[in-house]
Amino acid sequence: MRLPIPLALEAAALRSAGALSRIAGRGGGTTLPGKLLWKLDPGAIELLARRLERGSVLVSATNGKTTTSAMVAEILRPSVRVAHNASGANLVSGVASTLLERNGAELGLFEVDEAALPEVVRRVRPRALLLGNLFRDQLDRYGELEIVAARWCEAVASLPETCLVLNGDDPQIGNLARPGALVFGLDDPRQARPALQHAADSTHCVRCGTPYDYAAAYVGHLGDYRCPSCGHARPPLALAARDIELNGLDGAAFTLATPAGDTHVELTLPGLYNVYNALAAAALALALEVPLDGITAGLHRFAAVFGRFERIAVGDRRLLMLLIKNPAGANEAVRTLVEGAAPRVAVVALNDAIADGRDVSWIWDVDFEPLLAGLESLVATGTRAAELALRFAYGGLARERIEVVPSLEQALDRGLELTPAGGELTLLPTYTAMLALRKVVADRGHVANYWVTAP
């Protein structure tokens, strides 16, 4: 169906649909206009994208795409007017909504869902495409990793002119490198893990199936790999993070080595995965010709994106919230927590809505065990609270330390009750549980709802 509505009129009508749904409180109204546009006239998305005088850039990855694109937005903020889907609405409809609300933007910056990437690529024709990593995530929704990788490969082939910005540490993505691609990766074997993690995914050569030899494995299967049989190896790095310092929960620092010179980067975000995010953001910014000092200043200013790593004061206690959504991401959350101060009380929330993944089997592939030693009380909550409790019980946590409280709000209160005054309560929620917990906290006046604070 294609209705002959003039684009400007259409856009005005759809924008007011967004405002209406925001007033009605239906989840921020972040995608409704885009959904309508997508239905009425999908070609309009291409038209709107073409009006951005500096074109568009896309960011996709299983883990870190929201944080990475928010870092890029912060780097660009002083110099470029950017249309950015900051609320995380990363399907075609979310991109369409952002284009509708662009208000004089020059450049489109879109984080894109892994499965939606081919369609968004077709509509938006980006000038640069950043591909961060591919981990197993929601097998019920995305299908197997190989299928997503094959679709990405086709999408990349359809963009011969686009600048590729690739994480060379991921074999599936390093394999997409071509002349002119900007490949980034970590170069600091001190930060390598002694062995591949259980949840490592792409550990067999993408070309011949032989297990890779790793000179260094950093996060999951990301690292410095080489196939002993056919020689497929990590491509040469144009950008690297060296001399990495991880300062527990307080932040991280590293030397950013680039073709334009080396510089020191300080982050207020913790963990090796955020070093990856910052490195990816720097690479994309470099592809957009931002000078090095602009990149380091932007990364330094950057504060955590909602929920992914967030501290919220609640009376005389604090909440520390880290989103968990798949084995690789959850492993890094656990690693970060343990390298800081391992929590004594934790509320872990497992929901099984579509956005979380209906299939909750992934929790059994997370290495939660490093948390157990210091844990005095665990409150398991969410729609699959009992399943989560079993994960910890069979992981070795004594059953008397586990409480099952399916209601998120009651679980939060129970967690706060167990936390001494002045102390910190760690929350590890899946996506919809994170949104719900944040709403509970917001309704009590402790933090604003995300669509109000999103930049």
Binding site: D352, R358, D359, S361, L390, Y394
Partner: protein, 242 residues
């Protein structure tokens, strides 16, 4: 008593939380005073003397990588089963225990032939919560399936259960999984054993019998297990028929 578990290809077939199933067997053995000795059996490895074999699920690519090696182990696996060893195979492992697996291109992977069934890859994935009625045991199984393969049982083969809700072997027959003596195959990952403790205990008893002791295992309280089963079963029921 020491129970030896042979975990086949843990580096290749581990996609659906297979280690959750192993952790459940280990802990439920431990609290009854037994010890689970889990040994990885990889590519080109010899098959040791084992009381219980476990084969997990993998992506198509990994499955193809191990299929030939596994078929090469068929003779020794058949001998172990004839000797009373138990086997649990999930998803991809289930398919490989049949006679053959035909992929979308029409290429045929050899199977081990421990279960009387064949699998043909389909285009549509069958995904969702499943509830099975296992009348032969007077119990139910709740889990999650995600497979494109359509499995047909040969005439006279015993399914693991009748599908109450979900797709099952092929989305049509109304049956799921297969069992032959102490060999069990199923598409239910879930993982299967944490929320179906009766099945874990049955496998342990059969493995113990092979190890030389016929015992009844002391019942456990299993409150969390039953709560998780209830939620999972309710998810499947809410989804309704196929």
């Amino acid at each position: 008593m020491r129970i030896v578990v042979g975990h086949l290809y843990p580096d290749y077939l581990n996609i659906y939380a297979d280690r959750g199933n192993i952790a459940v067997l280990a802990e439920r053995a431990r609290v009854r005073g037994h010890e689970l000795d889990v040994r990885a059996i990889g590519m080109h490895d010899d098959v040791p003397e084992v009381d219980l074999f476990y084969v997990g699920g993998g992506q198509d690519r990994e499955q193809a990588l191990v299929a030939e090696d596994l078929a090469g182990k068929a003779e020794v696996l058949h001998a172990a089963v004839a000797d009373g060893a138990a086997v649990l195979a999930v998803c991809g492992g289930y398919q490989l225990l049949g006679r053959s697996y035909r992929d979308l291109s029409g290429a045929e992977l050899p199977g081990v032939g421990l279960l009387p069934l064949r699998t043909v890859a389909g285009k549509r994935r069958m995904i969702g919560d499943v509830l099975l009625d296992c009348a032969w045991a007077g119990e139910t199984l709740a889990g999650f399936e995600n497979h494109a393969g359509r499995t047909s049982l040969e005439a006279g083969a015993e399914p693991l259960g009748r599908v109450v809700s979900g797709f099952g072997n092929d989305g049509e027959s109304g049956y799921e999984g297969c069992r032959a003596g102490r060999v069990y195959g199923t598409y239910l990952h879930g993982p299967l054993l944490p929320r179906n403790p009766w099945f874990a205990d049955r496998l342990l008893m059969e493995a113990l019998a092979h190890a030389g002791v016929e015992v009844e295992l002391t019942p456990l309280a299993d409150e969390l297990e039953h709560a998780a089963h209830t939620v999972s079963a309710a998810r499947a029921r809410a989804r309704g028929g196929r």
